[in-house]
């Protein structure tokens, strides 16, 4: 056991920090903050930021060089993430692609698919959204009814029909990945296939949906006789569930939510507490004292998540896989995120709900609204608790 980073890792951190300090859009540089990525203008501004990172080699540090990465290791990726959040850099508009689809492409994609999709994903040229849920298939994902049938016109192509919903970034994305039923006779989890679909394909209709913050963070996507070539099937026909669970594992586990988001927010929470405890012109000086225990809880939980991630990363580097334990991660980070942000709002009191001059939620409120989604997406926390109970503790299925 040695919890120090190596000199090479320290140098990597210094290099990342220097580049981010010089390049992260900010008010002081007159380049930021960027408008919300769930607006048309903000989406484009965030894509431009992805491009800038890609050109400097920081977009996807852990990917092989041939796809635009640096071939960096797992800990280097975690270090980069720590620096990314420390620098207050923009939300990754490409996150569904680079953190969720990409690990699945690396595992199941053909060489042609990897060459076709990964570099464009890393540069922000092509932003991906996710097509899992349907109106009648949420927690019960295997109940999906959107279907794919062989094309009557082109031998090995498929025709998609149906509806996907709650597709994050769906309003503006160029591509969608999702599950469709290729064998209507098969039982639930069988007979599903994983497709990659251009959002501008004829027959695709997007209906943006406004989220809690009023912006169109997700969308419904309708498929009406959408023809898709066989080359856009990821993994084998009929094995979509297995492929999708790899993506879900990334979403719950290591890749989507790096600890930096929580440790950085927790550090800001301590500073908010410090100012409130010192008075800070606040009309309720007792408030900080009443929040003190939750502030400490939030800080410790964020730190526990970081340490647990280092623990898991060490195991992964020595060849272990991440199985159903990923569901424990998802439970913990989503609850931690809520604790950090709800404690901040408690410190702010009645000021917490006030919008900024542009009518946008300021950072703590914005973070709180985002954190509220955590226990719902990537499989609700109720589903995660079932997974933990059944597959980690070995309790019988209901």
């Amino acid at each position: 056991m040695d919890l120090r980073f190596t000199p090479e890792q320290d140098r990597f951190r210094a290099e990342a920090r220097a580049w981010l300090e010089a390049n992260v859009p900010s008010a002081s540089k007159g380049t930021g903050p960027l408008p919300s990525l769930d607006t048309a203008a903000g989406f484009e501004a965030h894509r431009a930021w992805e491009r800038a990172m890609f050109e400097a080699g920081w977009s996807v540090v852990s990917w092989p060089r041939e796809y635009g990465g640096r071939g960096a290791g797992l800990f280097e990726w975690l270090i980069f993430e720590e620096e990314y959040y420390r620098a207050g850099a923009p939300t990754r508009v490409g996150q569904n692609g680079i953190f969720l689809l990409a690990p699945t492409l690396f595992e199941f994609g053909t060489d042609e698919q990897k060459a076709r999709y990964l570099p464009a994903m890393a540069s922000g040229e092509e932003v991906w959204c996710q097509g899992w849920s349907e109106p009648d298939a949420g927690s019960d994902l295997a109940a999906i009814r959107s279907r794919a049938t062989p094309s009557p016109k082109h031998g090995d192509a498929w025709v998609l029909n149906g509806q996907k919903t709650w597709c994050s970034r769906g309003a503006f994305a160029q591509w969608i990945f999702g599950l469709f039923r290729t064998d209507p006779e098969a039982e639930r989890h069988r007979g599903l296939t994983y497709f990659l679909v251009r959002m501008d394909s004829p027959g695709v209709t997007v209906r943006p949906i406004a989220q809690l913050d009023g912006e169109t963070g997700f969308a419904e996507v309708f498929f009406e006789d959408v023809e898709v070539p066989a080359a856009q099937v990821l993994g084998q026909v009929g094995e979509g569930w297995k492929v999708a669970m790899a993506t879900a594992g990334s979403e719950r586990g290591l890749s989507l939510r790096s600890p930096a988001r929580y440790t950085e927010a927790a550090a800001r929470l301590v500073e908010l507490y410090r100012r409130r405890a010192q008075g800070d012109g606040h009309p309720d000086p007792g408030r900080a004292g009443r929040c003190a225990d939750d502030v400490a809880r939030a800080v410790i939980d964020a730190e526990a998540y970081r340490l647990h991630t280092y623990w898991t990363a060490t195991r992964v580097l020595s060849g272990a896989g991440v199985g159903p334990e990923a569901s424990m991660n998802k439970l913990f980070w989503s609850e931690t995120d809520l604790l950090v942000h709800s404690t901040a709002l408690a410190l702010l009191g009645e000021e917490a709900e006030m919008l900024d001059e542009d009518g946008r939620p300021p950072p703590w409120l914005d973070g709180f609204l985002f954190a509220l989604a955590g226990p719902i997406y990537a499989g609700t926390n109720e589903i995660q608790r079932n997974v933990v109970a059944e597959r980690v503790l070995g309790l019988p299925r209901g």
């Binding site: 301590v270 225990d293 400490a296 526990a304 647990h308 060490t314 109970a389 309790l395």
Partner: protein, 344 residues
């Protein structure tokens, strides 16, 4: 960065688990409850024979000369087994104090006690003036006692004990009457402050490690029971209301564990944040054990509320240790205090 144990550490831990499965069964624990001390000298000597008791004793005194990272997984196993012997007090707290005691008095203490600890013939108890009573005082051969900012090493013959009956029959407490004297003084003044702070930090980490093991055992017991107990014609573990309680408890245990391990590492290398890390560890571990005890009792229902069922042997340990050396809230307060002492 490598956050994991090496092969030797894992092997040692597996040996202790195997030992405990044979030598520290629930029936053995009940024997300990019924015994005069609440723990067994025979088992303590067997643990010493394995190298566990003398793990931190320098090799020149017959110990293993190892550190807290080597010890932390063993303490977790001790908690898992409900082991009543005073391992935290002797191996994590007492030995390092003796090993570093200054001057000629230090040499005398080392010569007198370290070999005896390594062979399992001496056990140590630790008491500070903020404690209402001292755990493991009965049966301890040497007591390290704080009073008036001084730390004294007092042989059992020189103290008068008043047993204070407690809920956990395998972790007894006693009031200790003693007189400080130049002959017993280990450190005083500024030096004593440092020694006592380090001792508290090791206690938070070590007790935290035991608590993680206790919590893990409680969740396992409840999961096992939930898989067997039938109601409405099926195992109660198939109901989500039961599943979710146990999943939440397991998550608390799972995330407390690396925080405790990190504290052991920070203490062993003298990391400047070791005190912060030790408090984080105890806060997480106390909370995990309290949550696990509550969930485990609820899942067991009335049978878990009985004397006859084994659950209470671990539940009472969880409660006792959750409060020992500062409860979760006290350590959270310390964490915030330390963070605020650093400038933004």
């Amino acid at each position: 960065m490598r956050f994991g144990f090496d092969e030797h550490q894992l092997e040692f831990r597996a040996q202790l688990r195997a030992f405990a499965e044979k030598q520290c069964t629930p029936a053995d624990l009940r024997d300990a409850w019924a015994s005069p001390l609440g723990w067994s000298r025979t088992r303590f000597e067997a643990l010493a024979e394995m190298g566990v008791v003398g793990l931190t004793v320098p090799e020149e005194y017959g110990g293993m000369g190892l550190g807290l990272v080597d010890l932390v997984g063993l303490l977790e196993e001790a908690g898992r087994a409900g082991l009543p012997e005073p391992l935290v007090e002797t191996t994590a707290l007492g030995v390092p104090v003796l090993a570093q005691a200054p001057g000629a008095q230090g040499d005398v203490l080392r010569a007198r006690w370290l070999g005896a600890v390594a062979s399992g013939t001496a056990a140590i108890a630790v008491g500070t003036s903020s404690m209402p009573a001292v755990p493991g005082a009965e049966g301890a051969d040497l007591l390290l006692l704080e009073g008036g900012g001084e730390l004294h090493a007092v042989p059992a013959a020189a103290v008068a004990l008043t047993p204070r009956p407690v809920l956990d029959g395998a972790r007894r407490l006693a009031g200790v009457d003693w007189e400080p004297s130049p002959a017993t003084l280990v450190v005083s003044g500024f030096e004593a402050e440092g020694v006592l702070r380090a001792l508290e930090e090791r206690a938070a980490m070590g007790t935290g490690a035991v608590l993680v093991g206790v919590a893990d055992r409680l969740v396992s017991m409840a999961a096992h029971y939930a898989g067997e107990r039938l109601q409405f014609g099926r195992p109660i573990g198939s109901f989500q209301a039961v599943k979710h309680q146990l999943a939440d408890a397991l998550v608390r245990v799972e995330f407390a564990r690396p925080v405790v391990y990190r504290a052991a590492w920070s203490l062993s290398v003298g990391d400047p944040n070791a005190r912060l890390h030790a408090s984080m560890a105890k806060a997480m571990a106390s909370e995990a054990a309290t949550v696990a005890a509550r969930a485990a009792l609820q899942v067991h229902g009335a049978i878990g509320y009985t004397w006859e069922h084994d659950l209470h042997l671990w539940m009472k340990r969880a409660w006792a240790l959750a409060a020992a050396w500062g409860d979760a809230a006290a350590h959270r307060a310390r964490v915030l205090e330390i963070l605020l002492a650093h400038p933004a």
